[in-house]
C-alpha cells in the first residue's frame, strides 16, 4: 500500500460552502406566529478556509452550523457544498459538538473508528485511526474509555473522530467551550496543526473572540439589526497573517476591540 494511494482514498479534497439567503424560523403552529431565528444569510466559504461564526448567545450560530451539516434544514434560502445541495446528515461534512459525545462503552480508538467512511477496508481503517490518535497526541490512551480520560482528551477524541473520514468540510460547534482556559489554548494550537496536516474547510462556532482571531481566516459576526426579526451577518472581518499567530499581536488587538464592539461589549481599548 503506497502512501499516495492512502492519501487519495482517505483525504477527500477541501470543499467550498455557499449559503444564499438562508433563514430559519421555528413554530409554524396555527395560533402562534413563527419566530425567526436567522434570515438572509449570504456567505461563501472557499475550499480550505477557516471561518469563525461569532455572535451573542441564542443568535443562531449553532443552527447555521447544523444546517450546513444537514442536521437541520433552512426554512428559506439554500446551502450548497461544492455546488451540490445538502443531503440530510450530509456525509461530506463531519461535525464535532460542544460535548464530546463519545460512546461510553467504546475505547478511544473504537470511538474514532466510528467516524471512518463506510466501506473502508479494516487494515486501512485501523491505520487511519492510529494516525489520527497520533495527530491529537492520544496514542497512549487508545484503549481507554471515555470515563477514564479528561475533558480535553475526550474532546480530542471527538476531533479525531470528525477527521476520520477526511471530511470535505469540518464543522465545530463550540468545540473548546467547556474546557478550562489552559486546555483551550493548547486545543487551539492543536487545531492549527491539524489544519496544516489535513487542510480541510473548517467552519466553527465560538463565543470567544480571541479564539476566533487566532484560528480563523475570516470572522463572521452574527447579530440582529434594529427593528428586524432574527439574526443575520453583521460584519465579516478578514484576519491578517498566517497561522500560527501571535496571541499578543497589536493588529489582532485592534480587531478584537472591533469585534467586541460589534458584540456590544465595551472593550476598554485605547487606540494608539
Amino acid at each position: 500500500m503506497s502512501l499516495s494511494q492512502r492519501t487519495t482514498t482517505l483525504e477527500s479534497p477541501a470543499l467550498p460552502v455557499s449559503l444564499r439567503g438562508v433563514g430559519r424560523s421555528f413554530g409554524s403552529g396555527r395560533k402562534e406566529l413563527p419566530t425567526t431565528v436567522l434570515r438572509d444569510v449570504d456567505l461563501d466559504v472557499t475550499a480550505g478556509e477557516i471561518v469563525a461564526l461569532i455572535g451573542p448567545s441564542g443568535c443562531g450560530k449553532s443552527t447555521l452550523l447544523r444546517q450546513i451539516s444537514g442536521l437541520d434544514t433552512p426554512t428559506a434560502g439554500s446551502i450548497t457544498i461544492d455546488d451540490r445541495s445538502i443531503a440530510p446528515a450530509d456525509q461530506r461534512c463531519a461535525m464535532a459538538f460542544q460535548e464530546p459525545r463519545l460512546l461510553p462503552w467504546r475505547t478511544a480508538a473504537r470511538n474514532v473508528q466510528l467516524g471512518l467512511a463506510r466501506g473502508l477496508d479494516r487494515a486501512r481503517g485501523a491505520e487511519r485511526v492510529a494516525e489520527l490518535l497520533e495527530l491529537v497526541h492520544l496514542s497512549h490512551a487508545r484503549d481507554q474509555r471515555p470515563r477514564e480520560i479528561s475533558g480535553g482528551m475526550a474532546q480530542r477524541v471527538s476531533l479525531a473522530r470528525a477527521l476520520a473520514r477526511g471530511p470535505g468540510v469540518l464543522l465545530l460547534d463550540e468545540p473548546f467551550g467547556a474546557l478550562d482556559a489552559l486546555t483551550r489554548l493548547s486545543m487551539q494550537d492543536l487545531l492549527v496543526d491539524i489544519h496544516a496536516a489535513e487542510p480541510t474547510t473548517i467552519v466553527f462556532v465560538t463565543h470567544d473572540v480571541d479564539e476566533a482571531l487566532i484560528l480563523a481566516d475570516r470572522v463572521v459576526l452574527l447579530g440582529s439589526e434594529p427593528d428586524l426579526p432574527g439574526a443575520t451577518i453583521r460584519r465579516v472581518i478578514s484576519v491578517p497573517g498566517s497561522r500560527p499567530r501571535d496571541r499578543a499581536d497589536a493588529e489582532l488587538g485592534e480587531l478584537r476591540a472591533e469585534l467586541l464592539d460589534g458584540l456590544g461589549v465595551p472593550s476598554h481599548h485605547s487606540h494608539h
Binding site: 446528515a89 460535548e99 459525545r101 466510528l114
Partner: protein, 284 residues
C-alpha cells in the same frame, strides 16, 4: 549470604520469605476484596442460620404443635425420602426446565416488542396501551384458558411462564430505548448511521444495562408464574408438590418445596447477577 546474588534470585528470595509483609497494591487490593466478600457472606448467612435455629427451637420446645411445624431434620428426612424415590429430582428438573424454556421465549418476545415500541413513536401509540392492558391481567387468570386451549401438558405451563417473563423485559427495554441520550443518537445520525446500523452501534449498546435488569426481573417473574401454572392442573413440578402436600397434610414436604423454590430461585438470580457484572464491565 554473599553480595553477588543475581537480581532475579534475590527477588525470588524475598518473595518466598517476606511475602506476607512485602506485597504490591494489587495484592493488597485483592486481599481486601476477599475480606470484603467474606464479610458479606458472613453477614448474609447470619440471618438464615438464626432463623433455622429459631425454627429448631420452636419444634424442640413445642412452641408450635409438631404436626403443624415439622422440625428441620424432619424436612431433611422428607427430602432424602423423595430424592431416593427419584421424585424430588424429577419435580425440580421439570420446574427448572419449564422456567428456562418459558423465560427464554418470553424474554426474546419482550425484547422484540420492547424494541419496536421503544424505537417507533407510531408503534408506541398503537401497541403500548394494549400491551399495558394485557400486562394488567393477573397471572392466574390465564390458567383456565391456557389449559382449555393447550391442554394439561407442557405447552400451557411454558406459555404462562413466557407471559410472565415477557413484560419486565418489554417494559425496561421500551423505556430505556426511549431515553437513550439524544445527543448520542444525533451524533450517530451525523456520522451516517441510520436504522439498523444506528440501533446496533448506538441504541442497543446504550440499553444493555437496562436489558440485564429487565432479564433479572423477568426471571423472578418466571418463577412466580411457574408456581401459578403448576398449582393448577399439573402432575409434576415443585408447584404440584406444594398442592399435593397440601392435600396430604404433608407439612414437611410443603416446607421442602418452599425451601427448594427459594434456593433454586436465588441461585438462578445469582447466575444472572454474575453475567450482569461481566457485561456491565464491558458496556456499563
Amino acid at each position: 549470604m554473599s553480595t553477588s546474588i543475581v537480581p532475579s534470585e534475590r527477588a525470588a528470595d524475598r518473595g518466598a520469605l517476606a511475602a506476607p509483609l512485602d506485597d504490591g497494591p494489587r495484592q493488597r487490593e485483592a486481599r481486601a476484596g476477599r475480606r470484603r466478600s467474606a464479610t458479606r457472606i458472613a453477614l448474609g448467612g447470619a440471618l438464615p442460620i438464626l432463623l433455622i435455629a429459631l425454627w429448631y427451637a420452636a419444634t424442640a420446645f413445642d412452641w408450635v404443635p409438631a404436626h403443624k411445624l415439622p422440625s428441620p431434620d424432619a424436612v431433611i428426612v422428607a427430602g432424602i425420602d423423595l430424592w431416593e424415590r427419584g421424585l424430588l429430582g424429577m419435580h425440580i428438573t421439570i420446574s427448572v426446565q419449564r422456567v428456562l424454556l418459558g423465560f427464554a421465549i418470553g424474554a426474546a418476545a419482550g425484547l422484540v416488542i420492547g424494541a419496536i415500541v421503544g424505537l417507533s413513536r407510531f408503534a408506541d401509540g398503537v401497541l403500548a396501551p394494549t400491551v399495558g392492558a394485557v400486562r394488567a391481567v393477573p397471572s392466574l387468570a390465564w390458567v383456565p384458558l391456557l389449559i382449555l386451549y393447550l391442554g394439561f401438558g407442557e405447552d400451557s405451563k411454558v406459555t404462562l411462564v413466557a407471559i410472565g417473563a415477557l413484560f419486565p423485559v418489554y417494559t425496561t427495554v421500551a423505556g430505556a430505548l426511549r431515553h437513550v441520550d439524544p445527543h448520542l443518537v444525533e451524533m450517530g445520525r451525523a456520522y451516517g448511521y441510520t436504522r439498523s446500523r444506528l440501533l446496533l452501534t448506538v441504541q442497543l449498546p446504550a440499553v444493555i444495562p437496562a436489558i440485564i435488569s429487565g432479564l433479572r426481573l423477568a426471571l423472578a417473574q418466571a418463577w412466580l408464574f411457574l408456581v401459578a401454572a403448576e398449582l393448577v392442573g399439573s402432575t409434576m413440578g415443585l408447584g404440584f408438590l406444594l398442592i399435593e402436600s397440601q392435600g396430604n397434610l404433608r407439612y414437611d414436604r410443603l416446607f421442602l418445596a418452599i425451601l427448594a423454590l427459594g434456593v433454586i430461585g436465588k441461585t438462578t438470580d445469582a447466575l444472572i447477577g454474575i453475567g450482569e457484572r461481566a457485561l456491565l464491565k464491558r458496556w456499563g
